[in-house]
């Protein structure tokens, strides 16, 4: 059965709260519609995901496709890469969403987001021969990488609480 269209003024809104080891890790309003939720069909998880009705705040503009794509990674299955990749955990999706929000605040637009074959999620930037990324691993580690096809690549450990510093480093690398 196809659900009846929801009048614009009465659209339900949701917030996903991802709780990391008992501590609220992210309380991020996401650009979901009720239809998205039906399509995503959240898989069983032992991670704590709560959904509550709150006024919807959408992430419009350049960042909205990235948010949608990130949350779509829920649908991936083990081995989604044609080899044996783990599916991204909700924690890595949440951390990438947090980082997208920070990137929006700081005005640095990524090229794209993707799941990682190493298990996790990634936000990456391409400018000419320069490549930079954040990679959020299911293990909990976060690394950033910078490479330009000429010099040895640079790997940075990332502190999610101080991610602004790495964002600025990436901006500087891309603009130099």
């Amino acid at each position: 059965m196809i659900p009846a269209p929801i009048p614009p003024d009465n659209r339900p809104s949701i917030t996903f709260s991802v709780v990391d080891q008992g501590t609220p890790f992210i309380d991020q309003e996401t650009p979901f519609s009720a239809l998205d939720l039906l399509l995503f069909q959240l898989p069983p998880s032992n991670e704590d995901v709560s959904v509550t009705n709150v006024p919807l705040s959408t992430s419009r503009g350049k960042f909205q496709p990235f948010h949608r794509k990130l949350w779509s990674f829920f649908r991936l299955k083990e081995g989604w890469d044609g080899y044996n990749a783990e599916r991204p955990s909700i924690l890595t999706i949440g951390r990438a969403v947090t980082t997208l929000t920070k990137l929006k605040e700081l005005g640095l637009v990524p090229t794209n987001v993707s799941p990682s074959v190493e298990g996790g999620t990634s936000i990456y930037f391409i400018k000419g021969d320069k490549f930079a990324d954040f990679e959020f691993f299911n293990s909990g580690d976060i690394l950033a990488g910078l490479s330009d096809r000429v010099n040895e690549p640079v790997v940075l450990e990332v502190d999610i609480e101080n991610i602004e510093a790495t964002i600025e480093r990436i901006r500087q690398f891309l603009n130099d």
């Binding site: 991936l76 080899y83 044996n84 074959v117 190493e118 990634s122 096809r149 690549p153 790997v155």
Partner: protein, 172 residues
């Protein structure tokens, strides 16, 4: 499902470890990594034990066999494999391509109840001395390797239509 071409059947052939620096190595990548530009993101590069097909024994589209026709194909040359890296504790990690054919008894990735013979199968592996390192590789070294490989990888084809794959795979 497409048929397996004769060139990928082992037929009693032994693996050999001689690789020319210019020999291409092919691998497939998911539509999740179809690039916006000309570069494959680091998130598409796996390591260690990075599976590839050696170009001397296969065609690029063979990485889509038996059932990955909706994937892209990427390649790099043997000489693009990074030079050794030193870890913080002084261990020297070396990277080598190893010809490691898959025989018909090997259960293949994601293919429940199926087997797949692939003479061209090879892996990029990490070694400390002569010891193959499967797990305990520092994350920094893995990331460094993957960044370098992303630098040196070229996209062969984004989406190869199934009929073309079938035609290619029937040629030998």
């Amino acid at each position: 499902m497409i048929s397996i071409p004769d060139r990928l059947l082992i037929n009693g052939r032994e693996p050999y470890q001689e690789f020319e620096p210019e020999e291409p190595l092919y691998f497939r990548f998911s539509s999740e990594h179809f690039p916006d530009e000309t570069r494959l993101p680091v998130a598409a590069i796996r390591f260690p034990d990075f599976s590839v097909n050696r170009g001397k024994e296969s065609q690029p589209t063979d990485v889509l066999i038996p059932h990955w026709v909706e994937f892209g194909i990427a390649e790099f040359e043997v000489r693009a494999i990074p030079l050794p890296y030193l870890s913080g504790d002084g261990r020297k990690f070396e990277f080598k391509v190893v010809h490691d054919p898959i025989d018909a008894k090997h259960p293949y990735y994601g293919a429940a109840n199926q087997s797949f013979e692939n003479y061209a199968h090879s892996e990029i592996r990490a070694f400390v001395g002569t010891e193959h390192q499967k797990k305990k590789i520092p994350e920094f070294i893995k990331k460094q390797f993957r960044l370098k490989m992303s630098d040196n990888t070229k996209i062969v084809v984004l989406l190869c239509p199934a009929p073309i794959v079938e035609t290619l795979s029937s040629q030998d």
